[in-house]
Symmetry: C2
């Protein structure tokens, strides 16, 4: 991302941190970033587009943290739970920003489907790595069982985050229910494997 676009996204993040989705007024973003409104719209097709770019920035952060301190644990369940707990705490550390990013992501503009899919793929890679207990790089592509598991888990996580954003429950619920769900699904996957090979 070139310098100007990055500055725009960073400005959006700052405004979102302070006042959430509504505080990201594109006129303000443009003027704070020192560009004209038209320039902003040349780089980002919409407010959602801009905030999804911001979400991608935040995801780099998560990937960096995971690389530095990979989720530990003796079992797959423990590692995956630890990963989601880390991701949840990282994202919810700045609640206003998190709500803004989630709202943009949840809006699900079909025009941004490609971006959203790429975003999900990065998340899946991190989950697969936690599941296997080793780094994501140079790893074989996930098998069918892993694919099913990671897709389902990231979906549960996403819905939990939206529930948090909508005031349905708190951060602890996100982490706790996520753990329960990981345990359940990993158990199920193991059991399915057992049945298939029997």
């Amino acid at each position: 991302m070139e310098e100007r676009a990055r500055r725009i996204v960073e400005t959006a993040v700052e405004l979102a941190e302070q006042g959430g989705f509504e505080a990201v007024r594109l006129r303000d973003v443009a003027s704070h970033a020192g560009v004209a409104l038209g320039t902003l719209y040349r780089r980002f097709s919409s407010k959602e587009d801009l905030l999804i770019a911001a979400f991608e920035l935040e995801t780099f952060d998560l990937e960096r943290r995971v690389a530095q301190r990979p989720p530990r644990g003796d079992t797959a369940s423990e590692r995956v739970s630890a990963f989601f707990a880390m991701a949840t705490r990282g994202l919810l550390r700045r609640p206003n920003l998190a709500r803004a990013l989630l709202k943009a992501h949840a809006a699900g503009d079909p025009q941004l489907a490609k971006r959203t899919a790429a975003f999900n793929a990065r998340l899946h890679d991190l989950v697969v790595a936690a599941l296997r207990g080793r780094a994501a790089e140079a790893a074989p592509p996930p098998n069918e069982s892993e694919r099913l598991l990671t897709h389902a888990l990231t979906r549960v996580w996403f819905a939990l985050l939206l529930g948090w954003a909508g005031g349905l429950h708190g951060q602890a619920t996100v982490i706790d229910e996520m753990s329960d769900c990981v345990e359940l699904m990993v158990l199920g996957a193991e059991q399915k494997q057992r049945l298939a090979t029997a």
Copy 2:
């Protein structure tokens, strides 16, 4: 819901069926329903509020269909999968409407948290009924295992629907991945039960 409010919601549904979320212009809703804009705003605090009311109407439909033809199957997995398939097809039958309702639901205004929670509770009841293979009325409240299962499953379903709405995948993917996930989680729940009693 009194007559005037119902007429407003029905008008919103008609407009959404034709042109989706953006086609529900509140000025149009008001004039087509034969009320002033201010009257609409006395009943519904926002466009989202209105569309969530519409979602509740649609859910009555689902409940009616489930009551008339409860999901069949010899196993819990089959019944729950059948239920979600039925619900998915029912909702996605009118794609524009579905996208509009999902968008409103996903926006997750904290002011509407109560409504959203009540909505989710109704869905959970239907899933629990399918899981048990009997009607939802006069049934004992779900136990912890059932609660975990139904929450996780409705979350996966919700995320899948949002993915569909965002153009990430088609209706078949929603139904198929939902089935896979149901199987996995029911297996996991049974296995967990086994481990706990052993």
